[in-house]
Symmetry: none
Subunit: 222 residues, 2 copies
DNA sequence: ATAATATTTTAAGGAACTTTTAAGGTTTCT
DNA sequence: AGAAACCTTAAAAGTTCCTTAAAATATTAT
C-alpha cells in the first residue's frame, strides 16, 4: 500500500511516517498544500492523508480540487482538536474519514487499512517509479501515449529502476531475440523517451553509463 | 442503482456525489433545471434527486413536467431549511420524499435505497456509461437505432468501459468466432459509431490506441 | 414477387503515426 | 589529437488506421 501524506509539521510527519513504514505502508510526504495537490493528482496512491492547516493551500482546498477532478482515491482528513466545523466541511466535500489531532499513529494505520480493503477501484496495471506512472493497458506514461518501441523500453527501465540495462538486453527485449545489431535503434528511442520525460517535467531521468548501458533514476538520486 | 441529481451548488454536489458513488449508487449530475429536465426524461434512472432552487427551471417545474408525462420514477426534493411551503407543494405534485438542507449524505443514501426497494418499474435491460444508455432490447443508443454490427461493438465497449479492446476480440465477438481476418470491418464500424456519438453530442468518445485497439472513455477522463 | 430500403462487405486513397536509416555532431577516454 | 561511444535529427520507408463510396447482400414493404 502506498499513500500520500500532506503535513507541514516536520517532527510529527517524521514520526508518523516512521511508524507507518514500519507497518508496511509506503509513504510519500508533501510539506505544503501546493506540493500535496500536485502529488495527489497522480493515480498512484491507495489513499491520501491530509492535514487541514497547511501552508499555501489548505487540506480542504486539496480535497475539493481532487474530488472535482473525479479522483476517487480514499482521503482521510486530519485536524486540530475541536475544529468540528472542519470535520463537517471535510466530510461534505467527500472525505472518507476524519481523525482529530493528536491521534495515535496506530489508529491512522488501522483506518488506512480499513479504507483500502475495499474492492479496488484501480484494477489498472500500473508500474510506478518516482513521479512516473506507466499504464500497461493503454501504453501511456503519465497519460501520454507511447509507441510500441518507446513503451517497450520504458517498461524495461521501470521494471528495473536504478539498474543498468545494456543495449543488447533492450534490443532483444524490445525488438526481438534475434537482436540483429543496430545499437542505434536503442539510442534513437532513448532520445525520444528523454524528450518525453522532459515534456512531462518528470524528476526521473535516463542516465547513460558509457560502455554499459542506461539506467533510470530520479533527479536527486546519485 | 443509478440516479439523477440536479443541483447547482457545485461543491455540495461533488461532495454528495462522491459519497453516494462510494456507497454503490451511480450518479448523473445536472447543474441547472433545463439540463435536469432533459436527463430526467430518459428512462434510465432508478430515482431522481431535485434541488428546488435552480437556474432556468426550478425543481418544482421539473417535478411537474416529469409527472405530467406519466413518468413514475421516484423523486426526492431538496430545499433550504424552513421552506415548508415548498415541501407541501412538492409532495402535492408527486414527489416521493423530501429532505431539508443541510442534510447528511448518508441519510440521502438511505432514503434512496428505501425508495428504490420498491417493485422495479424498469425491467428493461439497459447498459449505461457516461451519458450513454444502450437498450439491449431494441438496440438503441440514446434512442437512436443501431444496426446489428454497430450494436455489437458498442455493447462490447459499454461492457468494458475505459478498457482497451483489440480488433480480434471485437471481430470474434461481433462477427463470430472464426474471426476471419478483415480488421477493416471493425475500422469501418468504429467510424460509423463515432459519427453517431457525435450526432448524439455524447461526452463519451472511442479512443484509438494504435497497435492495441479501442477504448471507450468519457471526454474528460484519461 | 418485385421494388425500395437498409445493412454489410469490399476496396482504395490518403492521413497519421512508427520505425528504420543515415549522416553529422557531441562527449568521453586514452 | 584521435577513436570510440553516444546523441540528435530528419528524411525515407513502412504500418496502421480512417473515411468514403460503390457493390453485394439482406430485409422490409408494396
Amino acid at each position: 500500500m502506498r499513500i500520500l501524506y500532506v503535513e507541514d509539521e516536520k517532527y510529527l510527519a517524521d514520526a508518523v511516517i516512521h511508524v507507518l513504514e514500519k507497518s508496511g505502508i509506503s509513504v510519500d510526504h508533501a510539506e505544503d498544500g501546493e506540493e500535496g495537490l500536485n502529488l495527489a493528482l497522480k493515480p498512484i496512491y491507495d489513499a491520501i492523508v491530509l492535514d487541514i492547516m497547511l501552508p499555501k493551500l489548505s487540506g480542504i482546498d486539496i480535497l475539493r480540487d481532487v474530488r472535482e477532478r473525479g479522483i476517487k482515491t480514499p482521503i482521510i482528513m486530519l485536524s486540530a482538536l475541536s475544529q468540528v466545523e472542519d470535520k463537517i466541511k471535510g466530510l461534505n466535500y467527500g472525505a472518507d474519514d476524519y481523525l482529530a489531532k493528536p491521534f495515535k499513529t496506530a489508529e491512522l494505520a488501522a483506518r488506512l487499512r480499513a479504507l483500502v480493503r475495499r474492492p479496488a477501484l484501480n484494477d489498472e496495471k500500473i508500474i510506478c517509479y518516482s513521479d512516473l506512472y506507466y499504464n500497461l493497458e493503454d501504453r501511456t506514461l503519465n497519460e501520454l501515449p507511447l509507441s510500441e518501441k518507446e513503451a517497450g523500453i520504458i517498461e524495461a527501465l521501470l521494471k528495473n529502476p536504478e539498474h543498468v540495462l545494456n543495449k543488447e538486453y533492450l534490443l532483444s527485449h524490445v525488438w526481438g531475440s534475434d537482436a540483429s545489431g543496430e545499437d542505434n535503434y536503442v539510442e534513437v528511442y532513448i532520445s525520444y523517451l528523454r524528450k518525453k520525460l522532459e515534456k512531462l517535467k518528470s524528476k526521473a531521468k535516463i542516465k547513460t553509463i558509457r560502455g554499459l548501458g542506461y539506467k533510470l533514476c530520479s533527479k536527486n538520486s546519485s
